[in-house]
């Protein structure tokens, strides 16, 4: 049986939106515009994507899947790049990373028979992997910049003791990866206990047996966990090099930015 939410019920969601709006008004948070805009934008985006998916699901998988994956990866690259626009070749590095991760995960899913090559399975699952990888890359880039700016003294001390850039940066990269990965590790630890993950909830609501929903959730959770780890490691290992020049000297973020724009 396929469940559906009546359209009039969706309008009742406005009640939920009214709550933060009232809080913002009462405490003068100045978020009124943001709340209204993000609600409208989110709703429009979801309906639009619903229409696009309906269209893509009707296409032959070999056509529909590559189109949708390309769009998702491109949008994710633009978004993650915002956090690392100071670095040279940030766009191409993120794009390359996301493509490799998606292809690897997809190959594994398909070759182990976890999902079939149909748009209604590949697209939502890939969306979760790409989206989480995008967030992980953005977070790692942000953190990497902070670590290198805040720990300039320690980095200079390490270089002056004879460390190569890789040896000097080791501590900062470790902290960056910790910060980027800890939310995911915590999430995996408490999965199902604190919150039922989105995908599982969706499947159960859609009428799928809980045990089947859990199997899908496990596939996606482990896939997200490993792709997030790979994303953060990949982007940190590529980008930290830009903080040093050939003479093993530490550069400032503004110097890196200048060379990125040259």
């Amino acid at each position: 049986m396929e469940r559906d939410i009546p359209t009039y019920s969706l309008f009742l969601l406005l009640v939920f939106v009214m709550i933060p709006l009232t809080i913002s008004y009462y405490y003068s948070l100045g978020l009124k515009k943001d709340i209204i805009w993000s609600t409208l934008r989110g709703t429009a985006q979801l309906f639009f994507i619903g229409l696009v998916l309906t269209y893509l699901f009707d296409l032959r998988p070999i056509v529909g899947i590559p189109i949708m994956l390309s769009v998702m990866i491109t949008v994710a690259t633009f978004h993650a790049r915002k956090k690392g626009k100071e670095f040279p070749r940030a766009f191409i590095s993120i794009l390359f990373g996301l493509v490799i991760i998606e292809l690897t995960v997809l190959t594994m899913w398909l070759s182990f028979g976890m999902i079939s090559f149909s748009p209604d399975e590949v697209i939502p699952m890939s969306g979760m992997v790409i989206g989480n990888s995008m967030v992980a890359m953005g977070l790692a880039l942000e953190r990497l910049k902070n670590e290198f700016e805040q720990n300039r003294g320690q980095l200079i001390a390490a270089l002056s003791l004879g460390a190569t850039p890789k040896q000097a940066a080791h501590l900062s990269i470790k902290k960056t990866l910790n910060a980027a990965l800890i939310p995911n590790i915590d999430q995996l630890k408490t999965i199902g206990l604190v919150q039922l993950p989105g995908m599982m909830t969706g499947l159960i609501l859609g009428g799928v047996a809980p045990i089947v929903a859990i199997k899908y959730q496990l596939v996606i959770s482990i896939s997200i966990f490993s792709s997030v780890s790979i994303s953060a490691i990949f982007i940190s290992m590529i980008m930290y090099r830009f903080f040093f020049n050939q003479q093993m000297q530490l550069l400032k973020l503004e110097d890196i930015k200048k060379s990125a724009n040259d």
Partner: protein, 233 residues
């Protein structure tokens, strides 16, 4: 006659302009001058934490660029104004340099603590438990762990109180004499310059105004610029 340890020939970098001088083995050169005169920039050229835009720097008679950078920085150690210790214990900090070159041995740690007058049980202390003076001592010991021939000191006591300054200066002088170190010290304190240095180099707006034995420079300055600076200090 042996060649100088360092030769700077018409070096230019940022504010530094036409800087030429020699540094011999076991010299104790004090670089001093007003803020923004290029003292730290000059200091960082000795171990290639920075490079000149024009001019040559020779180390042991060879262009400095011919040396492997990690090896050069091992031989020419730098102590910074702030200790900038790495997270972990005192031992983690002391062994950082030697570990890079596979030269660490446990006994070295105790000798290093002894050099900087810290008790042996400090070895396992977390760096967060140390006072400002103790941190700077560990930072000095960390640089000495690489057994450098040249010690670059960038205002190493500027963040300390008077009592700590005097104690660290005493340790430094003792160390320099025992280990026959060549020293380049950047300082704002003329008392420190007199106590630690044998030679002086007075910089103003990136140019060398006077260079010679430190006593002569401080007691009989030749130029009105240095006279004015000493009157202000």
């Amino acid at each position: 006659m042996t060649s100088p340890l360092f030769q700077f020939n018409q070096v230019e970098r940022l504010i530094l302009s036409n800087v030429s001088f020699n540094l011999n083995e076991e010299d104790r050169l004090v670089i001093f001058g007003p803020s923004g005169s290029g003292k730290s920039t000059l200091l960082h050229l000795f171990n290639r934490m920075d490079d000149p835009e024009t001019g040559d720097i020779l180390f042991r008679g060879e262009p400095i660029s011919q040396f492997s950078i990690p090896e050069l920085r091992k031989q020419v150690g730098l102590v910074l104004q702030q200790p900038y210790l790495f997270q972990g214990t005192v031992e983690d900090n002391l062994r950082f340099g030697p570990d890079l070159f596979q030269e660490w041995d446990e006994q070295l740690a105790y000798r290093l603590l002894d050099y900087v007058n810290l008790p042996n049980d400090f070895i396992s202390k977390s760096v967060d438990e140390l006072s400002g003076g103790e941190q700077q001592r560990v930072s000095l010991a960390r640089t000495l762990a690489n057994k450098p021939d040249v010690l670059l000191l960038d205002e190493p006591t500027s963040a300390l109180d008077d009592q700590n300054i005097a104690a660290i200066e005493d340790d430094l002088i003792d160390l320099i004499e025992k280990r026959h170190l060549t020293v380049v010290l950047v300082t704002h304190s003329m008392d420190q310059a007199k106590r630690v240095g044998t030679k002086g180099l007075y910089l103003e707006e990136g140019k060398i105004i006077e260079h010679g034995p430190i006593e002569e420079l401080l007691e009989e300055p030749d130029t009105p610029e240095l006279q004015a600076f000493l009157n202000r200090s």
